[in-house]
Symmetry: C2
Subunit: 221 residues, 2 copies
């Protein structure tokens, strides 16, 4: 690695690369589980579904962790990527909105194994309180501030209906959460410094529909 002073610690990795690092991480885990200890950029790129030049360029932003003529050490590279992303320790997460989707999210086994830990499930509906979902008791939404404070929660997941999402986001931000994963089909507005990512089923389907329509329209051979 080239000499790096403490002050330039914050190299900036392109956003497109950041979005692919988790994919590489998963691919490396899969290779490791198969007992593979070393792999080339070509092999890893295939496992991750990208082109090898792009993979190498992405990895080069992290540092120089490969060996020319040999490839990458699977475990070592996996650790380096995990460290870069910040999932070497667990991040506490709260889920707000325990409807159908909230249930599915709470039961999602990938949380724990991938660096996240659900510390609380919240819902405004009193009928759900005291019930257990995925082994965790559902608590009132008003407990949010206390939970965030006590567990130092930085990441919140919103799985409430669209009309309630902005209110939940506002409360989350006020409580100190600065990263939000939004499953509600609505645009959230948050202050600068707060990150929001959205997952939207309708949008994904509509994008597919657009391309599908294209295929159908162009195909009349």
């Amino acid at each position: 690695m080239t000499a790096r002073t403490p002050t330039d610690a914050v190299r900036d990795i392109p956003e497109a690369t950041v979005a692919r690092l988790p994919v590489y991480l998963r691919a490396l885990t899969a290779l490791g589980d198969q007992g593979i200890t070393t792999c080339s950029s070509e092999a890893l790129a295939t496992a991750a579904g990208v082109n090898s030049a792009k993979l190498r360029k992405d990895l080069s932003y992290l540092g120089s962790y490969g060996t020319r003529g040999v490839g990458y050490d699977v475990d070592y590279l996996r650790y380096q990527i995990a460290r870069e992303i910040g999932v070497t320790q667990d991040w506490p997460v709260v889920i707000v909105g325990i409807g159908n989707l909230g249930h599915a999210l709470a039961n999602f086994s990938g949380f724990r194994s991938r660096g996240f830990r659900v510390v609380a499930l919240l819902d405004a509906d009193q009928a759900l309180h005291e019930q257990q979902v995925a082994g965790i008791v559902v608590r009132p939404f008003d407990d949010l501030e206390q939970i965030v404070r006590e567990n130092d929660v930085a990441i919140g997941v919103i799985s409430v209906p669209a009309f309630a999402a902005q209110d939940v986001a506002d409360r989350m931000v006020a409580a100190g959460i600065s990263s939000i994963l939004n499953f509600a089909p609505t645009v959230l507005s948050v202050p600068p410094g707060v990150d929001v990512r959205k997952v939207d089923l309708s949008i994904e389907l509509q994008i597919l529909a657009y391309h599908e329509q294209r295929k159908a329209h162009g195909e009349p051979v």
Copy 2:
């Protein structure tokens, strides 16, 4: 509409624009529901959470549907975008994998209202067959081919565990499905001509974690 010859029917709209059209569609629907009949690019951009120059440029790919000095007619523009995306009629969709997530998807009310119709729920687990989920009977996975044929299904949703996802995708493609929305945390490989979009909770959380780590690391002012 401006005169358009049959041969130039396939204008190509940039992918980034295609991904935003559904957002505009939703924003227009919201404005319409509020009784608003006309809006400026500025107002619509705010509702959609984008910048107005980008919005105008996106809309310009579809055609010239606004009026200078006035703005856009909400209902008219909404119809034009819906037509461009291809959601003026309903698309039949099959969901494979009726676990926690599959349940949530089947119950998702946005399907019907946004141009999609769930024609079947499939699962390999016999214990689920004949049960009703969201008013639809769960059927054996082996019924896939028949259902696709009879309903002319082009879009499939995969919500099975990761290890089974590739098999399901292969069967879908063989049955004639050419657009897949994949919720399983794995890379799918499909032949050219088949579109895959993936929705991946772990990846989204890890991207948030990366930025969160950055904030925490840079903040000690």
